[in-house]
């Protein structure tokens, strides 16, 4: 666990409550007029030169959205969002879509370099561990700016490109799968996303292919007053495998920013998708000013028998998090997993969890959730596990642990468990604990500072989940955890 030391060094080297990714980049952009109506939806669709079916699909979603109301059941509290006071489209101004890295605006490349994300394939190839290459799709203000390693992936038959591009290059796949997991009518934010989504990643792994490298998307919000609506679609065909990583950051702003993404995963027979997220959107300042409103719908459909979907998430950012990555276990013997670390500090509010919907026979699922609350934050785990009448032999194991730091935060666990057949076995375990003064004193007596001691104890608490992350992400996540908890030790 060498990263602990590194974590602590990193924490010490920056000021309390300093959000490292809070810079704003001055890059010329093209925007749609403020507000939302059918014309704006058509504008976005036209900008992407979309086929008519997709324009109609968006319009259908928009009309539906007009009839819906914001959900209020989550344990979060935020000022009313004026949906007419937002921009729904913003794109960095470039002549045409970049064909290679050389054509990408150097300012943009600088942004990603600042974030520590290498986009130059050469740089990556020259790295110390070339066998651990990661193909990156960089999404800047909802527009994909560059995707690396495309050629090499194409050789394996893997399609990894912006979804706006896939609409043109692989229309049959997009039309077949888009909205097939999260329908346009699903919920308020997903429906809004369906109407106005701008870009995101598209992945298709052909039958029997094990994707030769990790795929990754980095989302960066830059523009002010601009809603962010990414759409990600990943399809793993029969017997294929892919590991996908997602990272997010945003500038520090006094206003709240809306982020309403949709992620759809589909696995066919014997296929597996491992989806990892390190969410580090700007959380707002210690008084709760600013920060991202993160209303995200993520769902995976284990369509084929023996297929598997695994969600791993490390959530440290956002002022409000409303997010429940779920698995529909449709195929017999399919498996869903959810591993989560959700950290809240300052005045952050988290309402997050998962759903495991058991439909097929002998389906299994596992949920490991670690919530850490510090400062004046509120952290809620909300999860649903259900089995259909025909889902005989369904099994779930759920473990929800909450850790409290200090006396002004809250942790809440809200599990919903519904079993409709007698052969189901669902287990639920939950604990709530607090970092005790005794533990802190013990660690400090052995030479660790208060920050080092807290980082060590928290890292121990989240260990089960960290082990699920790909190596590089685990190290990143560990650092992020320490940074997020800064100033939480009194």
């Amino acid at each position: 666990m060498a990263a602990v030391q590194e974590t602590v060094d990193r924490v010490k080297s920056i000021d309390v409550s300093e959000y490292k990714y809070g810079f704003f980049s001055d890059i010329e952009s093209e925007k749609a007029p403020k507000g939302l109506n059918e014309d704006i939806v058509r504008f976005i669709s036209a900008k992407k030169n979309e086929p008519d079916w997709l324009t109609q699909w968006r319009l259908g979603a928009f009309r539906r959205w007009l009839t819906m109301a914001e959900p209020t059941w989550a344990r979060v509290d935020f000022p009313k969002i004026d949906y007419q006071d937002l921009y729904y489209y913003s794109a960095p101004k470039t002549a045409a879509g970049p064909k290679s890295l050389d054509e990408v605006d150097p300012e943009l490349l600088k942004v990603y370099a600042k974030l520590g994300i290498p986009l130059g394939e050469q740089e990556i190839l020259a790295g110390v561990a070339p066998e651990r290459r990661v193909a990156v799709d960089a999404v800047f203000d909802s527009v994909s700016v560059v995707t690396t390693f495309k050629d090499e992936l194409a050789k394996a038959g893997v399609i990894f490109c912006p979804i706006s591009e896939a609409v043109h290059t692989h229309p049959e796949l997009v039309q077949k799968y888009l909205g097939s997991v999260v329908p346009t009518t699903d919920n308020y934010f997903a429906t809004l996303n369906s109407a106005v989504f701008s870009d995101g990643s598209f992945v298709y792994i052909p039958p029997g292919v094990r994707c030769p490298m990790e795929l990754s998307t980095y989302f960066r919000i830059n523009e002010q007053n601009t809603g962010q609506f990414e759409r990600t679609l990943i399809i793993a065909d029969k017997g294929s495998y892919v590991s996908y990583l997602e990272g997010c950051t945003a500038p520090k702003r006094d206003e709240n920013q809306l982020h309403a993404a949709v992620v759809e995963l589909v696995t066919h027979e014997d296929a597996e998708i491992k989806y990892s997220t390190v969410q580090n959107w700007y959380p707002g300042d210690s008084e709760g000013k600013g920060g991202i409103f993160n209303f995200v719908t993520k769902r995976g459909d284990c369509r084929g028998a023996r297929s598997k979907i695994s969600w791993t998430q490390v959530e440290t950012g956002s002022a409000i998090t409303w997010k429940y990555p779920s698995c529909i276990l449709r195929g017999d013997e399919s498996r869903g997993e959810f591993y989560s670390i959700a950290i809240s500090n300052g005045r952050q509010q988290v309402d997050s969890g998962t759903k495991m919907i058991h439909l097929g026979k002998n389906t299994t699922s596992r949920i490991i959730s670690k919530g850490i609350s510090a400062g004046k934050s509120q952290n809620t785990y909300r999860g649903q596990v259900s089995s259909h009448r025909k889902a005989t032999g369904a099994r779930n194991f759920t473990n929800c642990d909450s850790l409290l730091i200090g006396n002004s935060c809250g942790a809440h666990t809200v599990p919903y468990i519904e079993s409709r057949n007698t052969s189901t076995q669902f287990e639920h375990e939950a604990t709530t604990s607090k970092i005790s003064d005794d533990q802190l004193f013990y660690c400090m007596q052995r030479g660790l500072s208060a920050e080092e001691a807290t980082a060590l104890i928290v890292n121990g608490f989240v260990r089960d989940v960290l082990q699920q992350l790909p190596m590089e992400f685990a190290v990143e996540a560990q650092k992020l955890i320490a940074i997020s908890l800064e100033g939480s030790v009194g």
Partner: protein, 249 residues
Amino acid sequence: MLEIKNLTVSIDGRPILDDLNLTVRDGEVAAIMGPNGTGKSTLSYVIAGRKDYTVEAGEILLDGVDLLGLEPDVRAARGVFLAFQYPLEIPGVATMTFLKAALNAQRKQRGEEELSTPELMKRVKAGAEKLEIKPDMLKRALNVGFSGGEKKRMDILQMALLEPTLAILDETDSGLDIDALRVVAAGVNALRSPKRSFLIITHYQRLLDYIVPDTVHVMAKGRIAKTGGADLALELEKSGYRDYVADAA
């Protein structure tokens, strides 16, 4: 050398230590005995820097430097070690990881190089063997699911590794069976050195049969009521503390 001068300590306005004076020379093993509630554990916590107490007056000097006002981790790096009566559990943190983090934190504080992992492993393994700690315990989370005796041995292992100049043992014998007591005592005796002072806090003579002290202090009502040699402990075993409680009052 530890010098405590005119130390007065209270908790929530209630006096616990009252103008206490105590000196432990380099290489000396001093035992502190006394009835329950006389402030023995408070003394150990105050030396180590626990925050629940209010120091009303006095000084705690370690090699001439006043420890009061320093954070517990700074005191640790200066050579203070406290073996706890009830060592804490740290779930999810492997014992070896904890040992490495603690040792390197102290070294860094003192401006020394970090110890390499192979060197650390070597030292830990050598220490563990002497204390009859099985190698697989080092991979387990610190003190989680350890027996009382295992926890105490783990604390002594940390003491051996951290090489303090002042080692305080707070009721280390509590909850130990005779075999575990022997192992722990042997571990402590092996660490006796001309440069290291020991402060051994105990209710009973029993521990002092195995760790023979140079001096014995009887503590009553928040101060040192009597000081003598190892034979004073034997005397106490016969007569009890009643006289001292009455004397001090």
